[in-house]
């Protein structure tokens, strides 16, 4: 009967943020405001029901047709009639009157539990977060003890000592429940306490209490409201349960639990009696839960890496549509990847990648570069058909050995993944399953992808680990991912990717999460693997050094588009797109030590959100060279350097005058006029 108060599972769906456009800068207070509460029909209904119940109950003496003790012996145990809308009990008392008259008391005493539980729980959590590890340890141990107690039995023993003093009992219940609230709140309070602005406030001399009230409590508001709603429901159920077993308000005062107890005596002769009170109690609990669930972050499947069956059916439909739109040409060259006019979109229609095309010849490395949020990763994942739930290919073709991967069924993709196209991801630690040993994961993949037996698979796993430069392979096979370093884990992930002998490797920023020295090792490993195996690589990166080091071709992406594409040397030596120019100017390694500028250039502003991408040049708002000519849609045109292409109306003009992206905070249009005068000076010189 004492509830489980750990109702906040899987709260942090952080991965969703990476996929779906979100508005940044929402304050905690805004989050729980009206929009969420009135966002779902269930919570609107919940609010209306609770408000109506409270209003009806408080005004009960004014409108109720009967007093709670009025006995109508002409209508004992009756069903709903004109006189008694909800029927009567065994003494002929009007159910409607008794239910509504006792509502205020039930709701009010349940609020006592809410206030004590949530108040004490929050206070303890803030205290533990603020006062350091020792205090946290003590509080956590005490709350653990409280949570492992048989709460109902203890509450009953308390009743034995203090009698059926309901407000007091509901308060003590709140104390018992506060341990669960503390558990829910602690993590959040600690993360708020470790924010940089809290450190700043400490340096400013703000005290512990001040910080807790000013900076931690506001951040907890949403959780507090959610927990309050859920505990309110719990309080009502427990109170009714106590009344049901005879520890409610003294007879003949009505209580919901007591009325259900009375009804249970007549379940044989008047089953109707169970319905009204049970329904009102259940509706009230449902209402509180609905409010809590609407305000809380309900776990959803948006960022799932394995979409649900329903989502997979949905995706199969859109894949079929793409297949019907354009059949794959059968004459493609072997092991050549051709991406044609690829668009990837969120299910609500927003495009994350638009009209992307590129080719990867066998044995070559293509770099996809650009800032975060430009669609590089989405492009890369679409090559394996591994876009997260809620995101799918909207248009275009991904041609590989005569198959259009964008239109392939899930079954067909299962035959291609690992065996022909493999993946290495950004964070090696998270890419490996923490629950299984390296050896299990690697041999399972080898057995599946190479069809080898158990014993052979182990030998092949050892060989693969040695191939990726792991010296004590036999030991590593027995370890769990958390027992090895990041660089080691990335080597294991690469071995895993190689287990099916793929012809194309998709590497999504494989070195970003690693130390600089380890980065160099992994890059040199990848280079030698390309040389040895002849596979081709699509390398997602924002590091131009990696591009210069490893890539034969580069596709520069900005805001979901390829803005420049061509051979690595020609693009790095002779960039045509202002964005490429800017990226190079901002890279310390791309500037020679001799003529290193006093300050590196920056690109002001941020990549706009996908929903805000204009139909005209998407970079214009941040471009130092943007002008009136940039307000039209810009096609991808030959750049003049080899087979390179560039998406800029001013590319030719810029190539002629040879402009530099300069380090400045001055808004774009001023720079343009400024740099124009500078070029005039150059011409004079």
């Amino acid at each position: 009967m004492i509830p489980n108060t750990a109702p906040a599972p899987a709260d942090e769906t952080t991965t969703a943020a990476a996929v779906l456009p979100q508005t940044p800068g929402q304050s905690a207070a805004k989050k729980f405001a009206g929009s969420k509460l009135f966002g779902s029909p269930a919570s609107i209904a919940g609010v209306i029901w609770l408000a109506a119940l409270v209003a009806a109950s408080l005004t009960a003496p004014l409108w109720l047709p009967f007093k709670t003790e009025d006995q109508d012996f002409t209508a004992v145990l009756s069903g709903p009639t004109a006189a008694h809308w909800l029927g009567t009990d065994e003494l002929g008392r009007d159910l409607l009157s008794r239910i509504f008259a006792s509502a205020a008391g039930t709701l009010g005493t349940s609020m006592i539990t809410v206030i004590v539980a949530v108040g004490l729980g929050t206070l303890l959590a803030m205290l533990a977060a603020a006062a350091g590890d020792r205090a946290e340890n003590v509080i956590s141990r005490v709350t653990e003890i409280m949570m492992s107690l048989p709460g109902t039995v203890i509450i009953l023993a308390v009743i034995g000592a203090v009698g059926t003093n309901i407000p007091l009992i509901m308060g003590i219940l709140g104390v018992l429940i506060s341990a669960g609230i503390y558990r829910v709140m602690l993590g959040q309070a600690k993360s708020l306490q470790s924010q940089l602005y809290v450190d700043a406030a400490k340096v400013d001399g703000m005290g512990m209490a001040g910080i807790s009230l000013r900076h931690v409590l506001p951040g907890l508001t949403n959780t507090i409201v959610v927990q309050a709603a859920l505990i309110f429901a719990v309080g009502m159920l427990i109170q009714a349960g106590l009344a049901f077993i005879g520890f409610g308000p003294p007879i003949p005062e009505p209580s919901w639990g007591g009325m259900i107890q009375g009804a249970s005596q007549h379940v044989y002769d008047a089953p109707w009696l169970m319905v009204p009170t049970g329904a009102v109690l259940a509706l009230t609990v449902l209402a509180a839960n609905a409010i809590g669930n609407a305000l809380g972050k309900a776990p959803n499947a948006t960022a799932s890496h394995l979409p649900s069956a329903a989502a997979r059916r949905q995706r199969a439909k859109s894949v079929a549509a793409i297949a019907a739109a354009a059949p794959a040409p059968k004459d493609s060259a072997k092991d050549t990847l051709s991406v044609r006019n690829l668009s990837v979109g969120v299910d609500n229609g927003v495009r994350l990648v638009t009209d992307v095309s590129f080719d990867v010849e066998p044995g070559t490395v293509l770099g996809l570069v650009g800032e975060s949020g430009c669609g590089k990763t989405m492009t890369a994942l679409s090559l394996l058909g591994l876009l997260p739930s809620g995101v799918s290919v909207a248009e275009g073709q991904i041609l590989w050995n005569g198959t259009n991967l964008a239109a392939a069924t899930e079954k067909a993709m299962e035959g291609i993944r690992g065996r022909e196209v493999a993946l290495i991801s950004q964070e090696p630690m998270r890419a490996l399953d923490p629950m299984f040993t390296v050896g299990y994961q690697l041999t399972a993949a080898i057995r599946r992808l190479r069809g080898t037996g158990r014993a052979d698979a182990k030998a092949e796993a050892l060989g693969l680990l040695e191939k990726v430069g792991i010296v004590d392979a036999a030991r590593i096979l027995k370890t769990y991912p958390h027992q090895i370093s990041g660089g080691m884990a990335q080597r294991v992930a690469i071995a895993l990717a190689l287990s099916g002998r793929p012809r194309l490797l998709v590497a999504d920023e494989p070195t970003t999460a690693l130390d600089v020295t380890v980065q160099a090792e992994i890059l040199s490993l990848l280079r030698s693997l390309v040389k040895d195996t002849g596979m081709s690589v699509v390398m997602v990166t924002h590091d131009l050094g990696v591009v210069a080091d490893l890539c034969d071709q580069v596709a520069v992406m900005y805001a979901g588009q390829v803005v420049e594409n061509g051979r690595t040397d020609s693009i790095l030596d002779n960039p045509r797109h202002p964005y490429t120019l800017a990226l190079l100017a901002a890279d310390p390694h791309a500037n020679h030590a001799a003529d290193m500028p006093e300050r590196l250039a920056t690109i002001t502003g941020q990549v706009p959100q996908p929903k805000d991408w204009p139909s005209t040049c998407r970079f214009a708002s941040r471009c130092q060279f943007a002008g009136s000519a940039c307000t039209v849609p810009v096609p991808l045109l030959p750049s003049g350097a080899g087979d390179g292409v560039v998406r800029c109306v001013k590319a030719d003009e810029l190539a002629v005058v040879g402009l530099d992206w300069v380090a400045t905070d001055i808004p774009a249009r001023h720079v343009l006029s400024l740099s124009e005068t500078r070029t005039v000076e150059k011409d004079h010189a």
Binding site: T152, V153, L286, N289, H305, E414
Partner: protein, 313 residues
């Protein structure tokens, strides 16, 4: 690991001790002295005083507590003030009732909850919404209300199960199972819904982990990703939820025992609280705590064993 187990054992012992003190104090705060409770209304003050003196009621509290504790450690929880029976013997006969009820309900909740929660997470769409809706209803309905409806439908209307009563396992295993069926199902409705919600959330969280993408990238079959890798990852919070559920159901059996007239610990608490039978209250609180803490300890160790990180350390 050994250190961890030792620490947990000490914690468990501390928990039981704290509760023993708490129970002792609560019992002493009860209205009426043992003599008055034992002799009932109309007894003379001398007779009441005599009983109180015999029970050591006027000794210092510390002396009383330690003499109770000393006896309790040897299995003697005192004598009921109402019927003069040994509290230990009474509780020993009641424990199997509540234990089978709580264990059965936890088991059924776990099976139902995991099956429904996994199905909701894996199937998604309409199936997910229906299961979510039913689970929402199930946690909102009080167990006693559901129990009465079950009695009405399954015992009164169709007499599939006996409406009330408990048959000991030794008497007839078949009747034992039948007599447990309705109370167990009643308790498992809310418990199953709670575990289903936890399972669904944990499965969704597991499926959001990046290693799921790695598994797909190496052509792992969908069933294996779901039922080997994701479920394994989700198993930690699910087991924790089941442990919480057992604590709740062990307490929740008070209602089920009242409803189905079962002679378990819950009924003992209710009776002894109503009659101010101090030694019985004290005994039942401590015994219930010992059981809950012990089961909790076992499940916690199981959780630790499931997590490679904790197992290694």
């Amino acid at each position: 690991m050994a250190l961890f187990i030792t620490k947990r054992l000490l914690m468990a012992l501390a928990t039981v001790l704290v509760v023993a003190v708490l129970a002792f104090l609560l019992v002493h705060a009860m209205p009426g002295s043992p003599g008055a409770v034992s002799l009932g209304a109309g007894a003379s003050q001398e007779a009441i005083d005599e009983v109180n003196r015999r029970l050591g009621w006027s000794d210092p509290l510390l002396v009383q507590f330690f003499s109770w504790l000393g006896a309790a450690v040897q299995g003697d929880l005192g004598i009921s003030l109402i019927d003069g029976r040994s509290v230990s013997a009474d509780l020993a006969s009641r424990l199997p009732v509540t234990a089978s009820l709580a264990a059965g309900a936890t088991l059924l909740s776990g099976i139902l909850g995991i099956a429904l929660g996994v199905t909701a997470a894996v199937r998604g769409g309409m199936v997910d919404r229906v299961i979510g809706g039913v689970a929402g209803m199930a946690v909102a309905l009080p167990a006693f209300w559901i129990g009465i409806i079950f009695v009405y439908l399954l015992a009164v209307q169709s007499s599939v199960f006996p409406a009330t009563g408990y048959v000991p396992f030794e008497d007839s295993p078949q009747d034992w199972a039948l007599s447990l069926a309705l109370p167990v199902i009643t308790l498992a409705v809310g418990g199953g819904a709670f575990i289903a919600r936890q399972t669904r959330a944990s499965m969704l969280e597991a499926l959001q982990q990046e290693h799921i993408r790695t598994l797909r990238a190496t052509a792992t079959p969908t069933w294996k990703i779901l039922y080997v890798h994701a479920l394994r990852y989700a198993s930690l919070p699910i087991v924790a939820a089941i442990a919480l559920q057992f604590i709740q159901l062990f307490g929740g059996s008070v209602i089920a025992e009242q409803l189905f007239a079962m002679p378990g610990l819950g009924q003992a608490v209710q009776n002894s609280v109503s009659t101010h039978d101090a030694p019985s209250v004290q005994g039942v609180v401590v015994i219930a705590t010992v059981v809950v803490v012990a089961v909790n300890l076992v499940l916690e160790l199981a959780t630790k064993f499931l997590d490679p990180k904790l197992r290694a350390s």
